[in-house]
């Protein structure tokens, strides 16, 4: 395994002083900057370690018992993490919050799994509230025997658990040609990763028996928009899950409780939540969601339709917009890379605005169609810099620049599928800003 390839353990710090003055204080700084709404730095966080300082006081927590265990509870994060929240957009003004979205605080995420309470949301008519005892899933259309399933029925099958990211096709759409968002939560937070539990959709379709000529499958939700999409049968039989679990517990209501489709690697909205109906046909339906909403403008007055795959993309989450570096020195640049077509094979980092690139280290595990973490140790000399990441996937695809995307698509207005290389500028004062332009 090469020095820049995936590895299981981070290298040990070279010496005590290095660990103490850089990574620990930096972590503290990042946590504080993230916890504060404006992301401003607390100056004291950058205070250097002073040899021979006063003896360490005995912490108060050691001088009394802690909180007692209640009879039953659902555990919550520390009150000191109260600033780590998913947030609605602060770029667009939505005059209602039903067909709306909220974003994951990627700058605070540790590891590749997004906690269920921080998983991004996109709804078309609010969050449905469904009693699993009365919920039904129907499978019909071009099948030999239409079938109906209760949640208890679905739970009787052997379960399958898989790690996959979900990304909204609209992720990053406010920041194509000029900087509109401040934080990585606002630029890239329509992205999360989870372990999903359910059963392969192919089992239910095969149980119903596919008729000859079947080619497309409708997934329909039981929400106030009965959100609906047409999916090619080939994909459904390949790796689509009928999921009821997420990160070790039943789906949250906002993620489609009690059951949803999970369509790995494809734009989030096709993973229909609150799933009530699966219908098989020989043609797609061309729903409004498929022509007027989730389509991409192309040169010559055309629109690209059924652009399902989320292409290979990456972003640096630390340091990222709204943070402030306390001074020159060594920083561990960190971020996420992912691809809807397969596995991440490499990530490069540039600290000079894309002129020169160095290969970053991928952190295990590296999973097909899942978030992959990367890191790159950067010795910042304190001068203004532009940092960015570029990911490659197992199909050989290289994440493009916005300029390269602009050459082949029409980037105007409300445009989705932005997987361009995303730069952050670091000013001489350490302030990190959105540098897309």
């Amino acid at each position: 395994m090469g020095p820049t390839g995936p590895e299981r353990r981070p290298p040990a710090p070279r010496n005590e002083a290095f660990a103490d003055t850089t990574s620990r204080s930096r972590r503290r700084f990042l946590r504080e900057s993230v916890a504060m709404v404006g992301g401003a730095l607390v100056a004291s966080a950058a205070a250097p370690r002073v040899a021979g300082a006063a003896p360490l006081p005995i912490p108060e927590s050691e001088l009394k018992p802690g909180r007692a265990i209640p009879a039953a509870e659902y555990g919550m994060p520390s009150k000191f993490e109260a600033g780590v929240l998913r947030r609605r957009t602060d770029v667009f003004v939505n005059r209602q919050n039903l067909a709306d979205w909220s974003m994951t605080p990627l700058q605070s995420q540790l590891g590749i799994v997004t906690p269920n309470g921080l998983f991004f949301e996109r709804h078309h008519a609010g969050v449905a509230d469904i009693d699993p005892r009365t919920h039904r899933l129907a499978v019909h259309g071009m099948v030999k025997q239409p079938l109906m399933f209760t949640i208890d029925d679905l739970l009787r099958y052997p379960s399958v658990s898989r790690f996959h990211f979900l990304e909204c096709s609209g992720n990053t759409l406010a920041d194509w040609l000029k900087a509109a968002s401040t934080t990585v939560q606002q630029t890239h937070g329509l992205l999360s990763g989870a372990q999903w539990t359910g059963i392969p959709a192919s089992w239910l379709l095969n149980e119903a028996g596919l008729q000859p000529g079947a080619k497309w499958v409708l997934f329909e939700g039981a929400d106030g928009a009965t959100h609906t999409r047409s999916i090619p049968l080939e994909k459904v039989l390949d790796d689509v899950l009928i999921a009821y679990g997420q990160n070790g517990e039943m789906l949250r209501p906002e993620q489609g409780y009690p059951v949803r489709a999970l369509i790995p690697g494809w734009e989030g909205n096709v993973s229909v939540k609150w799933l009530r109906r699966i219908k098989v046909s020989d043609q797609p339906w061309y729903f409004r969601s498929e022509t007027a909403r989730y389509t991409d403008p192309m040169p010559g007055g055309k629109w690209r339709i059924f652009s399902f795959e989320m292409e290979c993309k990456s972003v640096i989450t630390r340091p990222s917009g709204g943070m402030k570096l306390p001074g020159s020195g060594v920083y561990e640049i960190q971020g996420f890379a992912w691809s809807g077509r397969g596995r991440i094979t490499a990530v490069d980092v540039s600290v000079d605005g894309g002129k020169n690139w160095q290969e970053a280290t991928l952190e295990h595990p590296v999973i097909d169609k899942m978030l992959t973490r990367f890191r790159y140790r950067w010795n910042w000399n304190g001068s203004p810099s532009v940092i960015a990441s570029r990911a490659m996937d197992s199909t050989g695809y290289v994440q493009p620049t916005v300029e390269e995307i602009k050459r082949v698509r029409a980037i105007s207005g409300f445009v989705q599928h932005h997987n361009g290389i995303f730069p952050w500028s670091v000013g001489a004062n350490g302030e990190v800003k959105n540098a897309i332009a």
């Binding site: 008519a125 079938l147 061309y286 007055g301 199909t395």
Partner: protein
């Protein structure tokens, strides 16, 4: 009858096989079950949920009909609050008229008239989502009528038009041929490492 010396290796192989069978089996996915737990149901029982319309030819459009004039009344009673007078945009949503012909300009205007290649999309979408606070409560006649009104405001049907399962699929939408299949990957980025720009 086989001698003991021949039988012994056979037993040994069987024991190894048995040991393997009891070892933990690791797999990404369990094998597909040979029998399932779905309950047979008839298409008739699914009918109340069976609301999808194949918009390219209107298959699934129900009976009923509605005129532009009736649609204006329905619109002003159930839609105007959010979408504004004559669908020009209101308190919650932007315009649903205009935009036809804007696809070759810098600023594309996305409206039903411009973004729906097939008119039955209006019926399917209105039925399943509108009005936003009471979806699936409009009658088929009301949905046909308000569809006719919106198509008329977009200049796509005359003032005396009536929409039903036969007429709606025949409305020629301006961007009927404006949609192309996904042909990505369309970028051809290369992995340059030094002196890239």
């Amino acid at each position: 009858m086989p001698s003991r010396s021949v039988v012994a290796p056979v037993v040994a192989v069987a024991l190894v096989a048995a040991a393997c069978a009891t070892a933990p089996r690791m797999s990404q996915a369990p094998p597909a079950p040979t029998s399932g737990f779905g309950k047979p149901i008839s298409e008739a029982d699914i009918a109340p949920w069976n609301i999808d319309i194949r918009t390219s030819d209107g298959r699934g459009l129900p009976s009923g009909r509605g005129s532009v004039a009736q649609g204006k009344s329905v619109y002003e009673a159930k839609c105007i609050e959010c979408h504004g007078a004559e669908a020009k945009g209101g308190s919650v949503y932007g315009p649903m008229v205009g935009g036809i012909g804007s696809f070759t300009t810098d600023r594309r205007v996305v409206t039903p008239g411009s973004m729906y290649p097939y008119a039955p999309i209006l019926f399917d979408y209105i039925r399943r989502t509108m009005p936003m606070d009471k979806p699936q409560t409009m009658t088929n006649d009301e949905i046909y009528a308000v569809s006719a009104y919106l198509l008329h405001l977009n200049g796509l049907v005359p003032a005396d038009a009536v929409m039903d399962a036969a007429t709606m699929p025949r409305v020629q939408m301006p961007n009927r041929d404006g949609f192309i299949p996904d042909d990505r990957p369309d970028t051809r980025a290369v992995r340059c490492m030094q002196n890239c720009r």
